[in-house]
């Protein structure tokens, strides 16, 4: 029970990071971006390529950090991967979404995002092959925290949780303490009014894609670290991420964080009650339950 709870929190951290970016894009650009989860793959593969390159600079970087299977090289590749993925997101907006936004409605955007997701997934598959890759072939062994009840935690997972929380805190400070953060929130609230007060709408949209992409990249690397890197990882994660976003309330960054943990914990606890074959239904159950009880999500607000 406690083990499942802890595992849920650790898995939830990754889903939260993915959901933050999605909720911001959904709120500001007002469409359900089904290609968002593919940005996780982009980030994971970017770090997968960059890690060995950085290790090539200095052999010492190849070693793992303390008890982690995460090497210095891959750790250093994470900020780069975040930048690359952020840039990819901006580029996708420039090439596809901006054009569709100018001509089509919300539904066209959703369909476009499906197309983008398929293209991204298959391009990654073409380049890297469909079989899974790993940052490190070494298996990370779990440390036993307590024998009765048996509780085991992998150092990697703790590191991922800490890093995820740091990223979330940084985002929180950015949104709540800086003028830039205020302008982003203003755009989310009412784009027209924000423009009247002198906020550059295009810059704000660019920033949202950058932040969303960067956080997705971090989530992707963390996922790759604790599981594996595979072209379909975006597809596998899209539902939990959407469930977290909707449960938290679209547009609420804090809701997305909470939603991520909720989905992660529920997914792990479900095994205690449901036969293992039925647990994939859980994200749907959460979406339906939240929409029935609080149509705008836990932290969401009604808006036209």
């Amino acid at each position: 029970m406690i083990q499942h709870l802890i595992d849920g929190v650790l898995v939830g951290a990754i889903i939260s990071l993915g959901a933050i970016g999605l909720t911001m894009v959904m709120h500001i650009l007002r469409f359900a971006n089904f290609s968002h989860a593919e940005l996780l793959s982009v980030g994971a593969y970017a770090a997968f390529v960059l890690g060995p390159l950085i290790a090539g600079l200095s052999g010492a970087l190849e070693a793992g950090i303390g008890p982690l299977s995460l090497s210095w090289a891959v750790a250093l590749a994470v900020p780069l991967a975040m930048a690359i993925t952020g840039a990819t997101a901006v580029l996708l907006d420039r090439i596809v979404f901006q054009r569709v936004r100018a001509k089509g409605g919300e539904l066209s955007m959703v369909f476009a995002s499906f197309g983008v997701a398929l293209v991204m997934r298959n391009v990654i598959g073409l380049i890297f092959g469909l079989s899974p890759h790993l940052y490190s072939r070494d298996i990370a062994f779990a440390q036993i925290i307590s024998y009765d009840p048996l509780i085991m935690v992998k150092p990697d997972q703790v590191a991922v949780l800490v890093l995820a929380l740091i990223l979330m805190l940084a985002l929180h400070l950015l949104l709540s303490r800086t003028t830039f953060g205020y302008s982003l929130r203003a755009v989310a609230e009412n784009p027209d009014l924000a423009q009247v007060t002198g906020v550059d709408l295009k810059a704000a949209i660019r920033a949202v894609w950058l932040i969303g992409g960067a956080l997705a990249a971090a989530a992707g690397v963390f996922y790759g670290l604790t599981n594996q890197i595979i072209p379909v990882m975006g597809r596998d994660l899209v539902l939990p991420i959407f469930a977290a976003t909707i449960a938290g309330g679209i547009g609420s960054v804090y809701g997305a964080v909470l939603g991520g943990f909720l989905v992660g914990i529920a997914g792990n606890l479900a095994l205690l009650v449901l036969p293992p074959g039925y647990t994939p239904s859980l994200p749907f159950v959460i979406i339906i339950a939240v929409l029935l009880l609080r149509p705008h999500g836990l932290f969401g607000e009604a808006r036209a």
């Binding site: 959904m26 899974p132 298996i139 062994f141 779990a142 095994l271 293992p276 647990t279």
Partner: protein, 421 residues
């Protein structure tokens, strides 16, 4: 936004398929009898299965055909899709009027064809590759009317050998991780029964769904029973994730693997150092002359090694069906052909080889009212009352560069283990 999500989900479910029909042909001399084949020719491993069946048909035609006529095999693609497979089978039975249907490969495709097409229309069905024990159950209930045969050993063989591994190694408590599909559920059910027979306690049986972001919870669940060993009925993709998680969480490195994990990808991503106590099971080709003869003939005809799945089985399926047609005589119906199967697989009968000369010899013997024993690519094929065959088995391990054979279990030994179970 809710509406948008629904639209998205519908789009997600949308898939595009296309139908392809290919036809094999044989030169007609006096008369031509059609037989049907429903095989997944649109997937890369499916095409050779169809080609080797056609190879058998060509050899039979060279010996003058079966049942007094030249044989034309009409081949249709299943796309590994039950709906497409049923349509293909129905077209073959209704339009081409076939009395014999070869196929399909996947159990999930063969089953609906059997229940909704071949049994109602009284067509004999001979599958090269379906391994599900669901067919055995159906046959035991009399639902197949004795019209279904297969030349591929059931998953029961692998399960029985898996249980033997646990017993031999002295692993008293085993947890099961299985892929949540027809095959995996079947495996999990049978292996659990076999473990129980062998006196091995099953501490837990956990299903793994496809395409899950993490299998941690499932693995933790299996781990909670503190087993001595883990049985893996998984494919490499989820198998790699689950086993890495399993070992990382301190799970035992005593493993028993189904043949699906016989993959380099799995070995490399898990790491050979963790697989020292991992034993795999698989069915094997018999170490018999007739099997070697098939390998030779295959090389000569296709200029390739018959290493793909189901090739020997497909060849034997076609040969046996045609032998039975010969034995049943001209214009025989499906049930008559099915009833003639024992005449061509009689252990007391005249041994015949699997080639043109062998078929010609069989024609003479059968014409004289005798019986023959077909010695084919999978050995001396012998169907039980349910149309099932058994097969030799191997226990294997991962080696540095190859798969190492730990033990070869000849047919007699496999049959002995199976009958214990």
């Amino acid at each position: 936004m809710k509406k948008l999500l629904l639209g998205g989900a519908a789009l997600m479910a949308l898939s595009v398929g296309f139908t392809g029909v290919t036809t094999g042909s044989a030169q007609a001399q006096q008369c031509t009898t059609k037989i049907g084949a429903v095989l997944p020719t649109s997937v890369d491993w499916g095409r050779p299965i169809a080609e080797v069946a056609q190879f058998a048909v060509d050899q039979v035609n060279a010996a003058g055909g079966a049942g007094g006529c030249q044989i034309e095999m009409v081949l249709r693609d299943t796309q590994v899709d039950p709906k497409v497979g049923v349509d293909a089978a129905r077209a073959l039975v209704d339009l081409d009027g076939v009395e014999v249907l070869l196929g399909a490969v996947s159990s999930g495709v063969s089953m609906p064809i059997l229940t909704s097409v071949t049994v109602p229309s009284e067509t004999m069905m001979m599958s090269c590759c379906s391994s599900s024990t669901a067919f055995t159950n159906l046959a035991e209930q009399g639902e197949t009317k004795g019209l279904f045969f297969r030349t591929f050993a059931t998953t029961g063989v692998q399960a029985a050998v898996g249980a033997k591994v646990a017993a031999d190694q002295g692993w008293g408590k085993v947890a099961i991780l299985y892929k949540n599909d027809d095959w995996g559920q079947d495996m999990a059910r049978i292996i659990a029964a076999d473990f129980a027979e062998a006196g091995v306690e099953v501490t837990g049986s956990v299903a793994l769904n496809d395409a899950q972001p993490s299998y941690r919870a499932e693995v933790a669940q299996a781990l909670s029973g503190q087993p001595d060993a883990i049985y893996l009925a998984l494919y490499p993709a989820e198998g790699t994730m689950a086993v890495r998680e399993w070992i990382g969480l301190g799970g035992t490195q005593n493993m028993i693997m189904a043949n699906s994990l016989k993959s380099d990808e799995f070995k490399e991503n898990v790491g050979l150092q963790y697989l020292a106590h991992a034993y795999g099971t698989d069915t094997a080709s018999p170490r018999a002359e007739s099997a070697d003869a098939f390998v030779e003939a295959y090389r000569a005809r296709f200029e390739a090694e018959p290493t793909g799945p189901g090739l020997a089985n497909s060849y034997d399926a076609a040969m046996l069906a045609l032998l039975a047609m010969e034995a049943a005589g001209e214009g025989a119906t499906g049930p008559q052909i099915a009833a003639a199967i024992p005449r061509v697989t009689d252990p007391e009968g005249t041994p015949i080889t699997a080639d043109t000369a062998g078929f010609a010899q069989a024609k003479e013997v059968l014409a004289g009212g005798g019986t023959v024993m077909y010695q084919g690519a999978t050995g001396n094929v012998r169907f039980d009352a349910n149309g099932d065959v058994s097969a030799p088995a191997v226990i294997w391990k991962f080696g540095e560069s190859t798969i190492e054979e730990v033990q070869y279990l000849p047919l007699e030994e496999v049959n002995a283990i199976m009958s214990d179970g």
